[in-house]
């Protein structure tokens, strides 16, 4: 174990409409085996003991599965380590005496609640608009009743790994949510259970996404930032299904 003495530059903002600014906070004697969030806990404890206000940041499971933590750390979403959320980032990734700049996600659709905490409910609007399937009611059917080829199940699982943290939007120079939306669309669109709403889903979710977020210019920044390493291949799949949805006519005979 080594101890790190760090200088934090943390974004402080009293409320959604209050002006914000960077606050320089010394973080001395940080154990390099701590996670980034544990480091912030220590800093907050000291701030409280000094009678100051603690830094507000989002966190929950602290094991990279809930998608609650965020933070732009030195200009990178979830910090310098690839394929992990901020809670899985350890202080050993930083060196003694380093200055760490911490900013909240920045997007019009993610308004700042306070300090480093943002409201990501725009994602909920996208999921509400199409992230569901039609399922039979009654007793639970047998597992594996619907045959699914292994590669398809794997691809759907890769998409379903999305935890909705918003790093893709935060990292995107255009604040586009195409990676999030395409993951949510694809994990249902790839599976047999999702076919009933396949085209209405992609249309509704994309249209809802575009009410809030920017457009994709294929930088590829999102897949680098994604803690689940979701591929931009899903964006291409979403684009393909969106075009198809515009051609599809599911109104059958005798309907006007």
């Amino acid at each position: 174990m080594t101890e790190l003495n760090l200088t934090l530059k943390v974004w402080r903002q009293a409320g959604p409409d209050a002006p914000g600014s960077f606050d320089t906070i010394e973080a001395k004697g940080i154990n390099d085996e701590m996670s980034f969030l544990e480091m912030l806990d220590i800093v907050n404890e000291r701030l409280i003991n000094d009678g100051k206000e603690a830094i507000v940041f989002d966190h929950d499971c602290r094991e990279g599965i809930c998608g609650t933590c965020s933070l732009m750390i030195n200009g990178q979403a979830h910090g310098p380590q690839k394929g992990t959320a901020t809670c899985q980032l350890h202080m050993r990734k930083f060196h003694d005496g380093q200055e760490i700049v911490i900013e909240p996600w920045r997007a019009t659709a993610f308004p700042i609640v306070k300090d480093l905490m943002v409201d990501r409910s725009a994602f909920d609007r996208i999921v509400e608009s199409g992230g569901f399937i039609t399922a039979e009611t009654g007793g639970a059917s047998d597992a594996n009743l619907t045959p699914i080829p292994k590669p398809v199940a794997d691809a759907a699982m890769d998409a379903a790994a999305c935890i909705g943290c918003g790093a893709c939007v935060a990292a995107c120079p255009n604040s586009a949510a195409n990676l999030f939306t395409s993951a949510k669309v694809s994990h249902l669109n790839l599976l047999p259970q999702g076919q009933a709403e396949r085209y209405s889903r992609v249309e509704a979710m994309v249209d809802t996404m575009e009410e809030f977020f920017g457009s994709c210019t294929n930088h590829g920044e999102c897949q680098e930032a994604c803690p689940k390493e979701i591929s931009i291949d899903f964006i291409a799949l979403m684009n393909k299904d969106y075009l198809k949805s515009k051609f599809k006519n599911r109104r059958m005979l005798s309907r006007r």
Partner: protein, 250 residues
């Protein structure tokens, strides 16, 4: 606290009813994804033009007769079927439409993207994937657009100061224009901007069109690099050839 919540739309059933208000192409173009399809399709048209333009210009190395004969051939394309220059004008109108749509979709998507992040990051970003080409698309696009206007004045419409312009004498006009060192340097710079634009655009179009398949994904970037390189090498060779006296009158 009202302002902390994003205004919510109808919570239920968005997926159930897909309303169609306008005809399919208009409806499609209204969405950002549709605009990206238009951007990609018009980009493919413009790439086709840029490639044929470069190949046609290679005739320059065969001398004035071959080059001017090719220029005349373009005007007489499909002549027994159509009157003179009609086929050429058909292609020109197609290109003008492609340019218009390409620029309009780029403009409106840029507006949308700026609105999506009204407060920028206050600390420097550390990009992992976004490269120089992808982040300067708007600027290289504007440079190429402005160059195009100059290029049309220079070699199609009126000629520009410091050269002798004779309408229809394509070879003599090219040599006269590119023998000015400043103009030659400008052509080189503009074509490098075009190459940077193509480097990202020719890859990006595969994603926008949904052309993604593990079988050929590795080739998408290679195709873009090769295409951009072929265009830049071909086009940059013309001003250099004139400057170094490889291409000259007589």
């Amino acid at each position: 606290m009202a302002s902390t919540t994003v205004a919510r739309g109808p919570a239920s059933g968005g997926a159930q009813r897909a309303k169609r208000k306008a005809p399919f192409p208009v409806e499609f173009y209204r969405s950002a994804l549709g605009k990206k399809y238009v951007m990609a399709l018009t980009g493919i048209m413009l790439m086709g033009f840029v490639l044929l333009h470069m190949i046609g210009n290679l005739k320059m190395y065969l001398g004035p007769e071959e080059f001017n004969h090719y220029a005349e051939f373009l005007r007489e394309l499909l002549v027994p079927i159509l009157p003179r220059t009609v086929a050429l004008w058909g292609m020109r109108l197609g290109l003008i439409a492609a340019f218009g749509l390409h620029i309009h979709s780029a403009y409106s998507l840029t507006r949308m993207n700026h609105a999506a992040r009204t407060v920028k990051y206050q600390s420097p970003r550390d990009y992992a994937a976004a490269n120089f080409a992808s982040r300067t698309m708007r600027w290289t696009g504007i440079i190429v657009g402005l160059f195009l206007i100059w290029h049309l004045f220079d070699l199609s419409w009126t000629g520009t100061p410091g050269m002798t312009f004779v309408r229809g004498e394509a070879y003599q006009n090219v040599v006269s224009s590119l023998s000015r060192p400043v103009v030659a340097a400008f052509y080189v710079a503009a074509n490098i901007a075009l190459g940077i634009h193509l480097f990202h655009g020719a890859w990006s179009l595969f994603q926008s069109m949904g052309w993604n398949n593990p079988r050929f994904n590795v080739w998408r970037k290679n195709v873009a690099i090769a295409f951009a390189a072929i265009i830049v090498i071909g086009n940059v060779s013309f001003p250099l050839a004139v400057q170094f006296g490889i291409v000259h009158v007589n």
